[in-house]
Amino acid sequence: MRLVVVGNGVAGVTAAMAVRARDPRAEITIISGESEYFFSRTALMYAYMDVMQRRDLEPYERKVYRKQRLERRLDWVVDLDAGERTVRLMGGESLRYDRLLLATGSRGRRAAWERELDGVVRLVTLQDLDACERWTPGTQRAVVAGGGLIGVELVECLLHHRVPVTFLVREASYWPAALSAEEGAMVAAHLRAQGVDLRLETEIASLEGEGRVSGVTTRAGERIACEMVGVTIGVEPNIDWLRRVKTPPALGRGVVTDQAFRTSLPGVYAAGDCAEVAGRIEPLWYAAKRQGEAAARAMLGETVEYTPPTYYNSAKFFHLEWTGVGETAAGPGRFRKLPGREASVRVIEREGVVVGFSMLGSRWNHRVLARWVEERRRVEEVVSRLYEAQYDGEFGRVVL
């Protein structure tokens, strides 16, 4: 079997390795124009902070690709011909496939007010990282727009380099997609304590400057002088390139697939952030990994009916850790700030049955929490047994 994987992110590389594990004879080629080797996108912030070097971002030793006979191409795919079963690369080469996996991930969403100016950055690709590093020296102030997880990472990096940051968040409370108002206030207080100039309910109306950005104007008309602007208003499936190929697969918000990751084109599959699997996009690292593995089995002809497990995620806002499970935004739930600590627990219920958890400031075993949600446990029972899901380190168990 000839397998061509477009994109060497976690979904693509996991799929390639899973195919290799089951089929020693498959010819596998992974194409990426972004980087020669699979790297951990989630660690971009640590590279930016100079805590890690570029090479440290690679989860596998380079010899793994040789040992597993995973061929790599540093190039961009510019055309897809489903009739001929070929993809054409920008460098001119055409590759034939029996199975094609589209795993091109996400890209940073563009804002309506954006212009091509130096100093306007994101933190999604390696090239974004290069740009961040290039514009940081000499920057007197940066503005970061968009209060998601990448936004707060970018803010942390800039502060690490002693660049004062104004952090603009559209919503009235921090990250309402997952956090309650009380939790949002805790995170906001934490960010402010780190020296972040956090402005809620503030959006950029326009950028100023010619060549290099020199400031932003908010919708309220305030002007903030800055030499860098971080655009972190979320990510979207990276599928625009597929609109320009000879035979595009069916596209919705992402590449539309069934539960076996099959697109509308024969032999063409999609997985990871770019895929809309049975109507759902799961833009999460571990979801991409799970999908990559399942897609590998599907491409090898196994029957696969992928259903996402109970949602869970975790994050870190500077020093404040968060674990969320289930429907974290389904209501205020039973919220309790833990005494004497920057920590809280929130158990979200519906008609007395637990449907989610949102935990700030201490560590939790999401598996135990997810199981309680799946087993539809009564909220009273869960609240009394909450300690069973604690995951704090030795000597550090948080008193509930």
Binding site: T42, A43, Y46, Q53, R367, E388, Y391, G393, G396
Partner: protein
């Protein structure tokens, strides 16, 4: 930015890193092979260069320890562990021996054991000491060390008590990430550390044989001298500490220390200490591997959802501390209570 660059240079094998490494190696050479530090010792009222070295070592451990406690202040394990390391250094590795010396008694370092402190199992030396010390060192080296290793992992010694580990985990903190994470380094480590252990066991055996038979051949005496020079001075001192800015802080502990080898074996055999990996939460960022001073590629285990015990792991706990997703946890299996998959140790 300039401060950042200088720090980067110093801690990432830049010119300043090489200069500091050179100075450290030069210092160790001067300490071990010349008397040039003796006048400095006398100037501060100490009788020998070794006392001066002990004083410097203790000051550096305490200063670095304060820095580490400030850095990881949120993490109770790090605070307790670092406080213990500082305490052991100040009391057992410095004050007690100094007091014994002032009282004209032999200097005993009660926090060091064979085979790290090789002489403590040299019968010629050991059996010339008063019996409480003989009992202490035999019981500790032969029973206490391996038993505690099996029960709590090698961390009880390597990152809670030992002075070498103490220096690495305090003053060495800025260089901990320089350890080599490659599988080639791991292969080298397994050969080198067990080779040194084998050599030290062999030499101890020969010394006991000589002692029982009442005659020591010149070859054994020469072997002993060489061991002291190569392992005791060059590998543990000049290479182990001198190369902090180039090879990370645990070069000695990881590749050469016979005590670490022994404890590693008991840690694996005991099967109680392990690093637990929370399922499907790892984002492969690699901070755990980057910060592992023993060069363990922790990420490989974490991204495979594989809880693990590695012989080399000293249980410093920094991987768990830096993990942004709270995936890792050091655990000591009590084996008593297991409820819903969560051990209540």
């Amino acid at each position: 930015m300039i401060r950042n660059r200088l720090y980067h240079d110093l801690t990432n094998r830049g010119i300043t890193g090489w200069v500091v490494a050179g100075l450290l190696v030069w210092f160790y050479m001067a300490l071990y092979f010349t008397e040039s530090l003796t006048p400095w010792a006398q100037r501060v009222g100490l009788s020998s260069k070794w006392d001066l070295y002990g004083l410097l070592y203790t000051v550096v451990v305490v200063a670095g320890g304060i820095g580490v406690i400030r850095k990881y202040g949120n993490n109770r394990y790090q605070v307790v562990r670092t406080a213990v390391v500082m305490f052991v250094q100040v009391v057992f590795a410095f004050s007690v021996p100094m007091m014994l010396k002032a009282l004209h008694q032999p200097e005993y370092y009660l926090s060091y054991f064979w085979p790290l402190k090789f002489d403590y199992m040299n019968p010629e030396y050991l059996f010339a000491q008063p019996w409480p010390f003989v009992v202490y060192t035999l019981a500790a080296s032969l029973v206490g060390v391996p038993l505690l290793g099996a029960l709590f992992g090698k961390r009880w010694y390597c990152s809670w008590v030992c002075g070498c580990g103490g220096l690495a985990n305090t003053a060495g903190e800025p260089w901990r990430h320089l350890s080599d994470k490659s599988s080639a380094a791991w292969r080298f480590e397994r050969v080198s550390i067990h080779a040194v252990l084998g050599i030290s066991l062999l030499l101890t055996g020969l010394l006991f044989y000589s002692w029982f038979s009442g005659s020591k051949s010149p070859a054994v005496a020469q072997f002993q001298t060489w061991y002291g020079l190569v392992v005791g001075s060059i590998l543990s001192g000049a290479v182990g500490t001198g190369l902090y800015p180039l090879g990370g802080t645990r070069v000695w502990c990881r590749f050469f220390c016979p005590m670490a080898a022994l404890l590693g074996i008991t840690q694996k055999a005991g099967k109680r200490f392990h690093i637990r990996v929370k399922e499907d939460m790892c984002i492969s960022c690699g901070l755990c591997s980057k910060y592992c001073e023993m060069g363990i590629d922790v990420r490989t285990y974490a991204q495979r959802n594989e809880s693990f015990t590695r012989a080399s792991c000293v249980g410093c706990g920094i991987c768990a501390e830096v993990c942004p997703r709270g995936v890792l946890r050091l655990e000591n299996q009590s084996g008593l209570v297991q409820i819903s998959g969560v051990s209540l140790s």
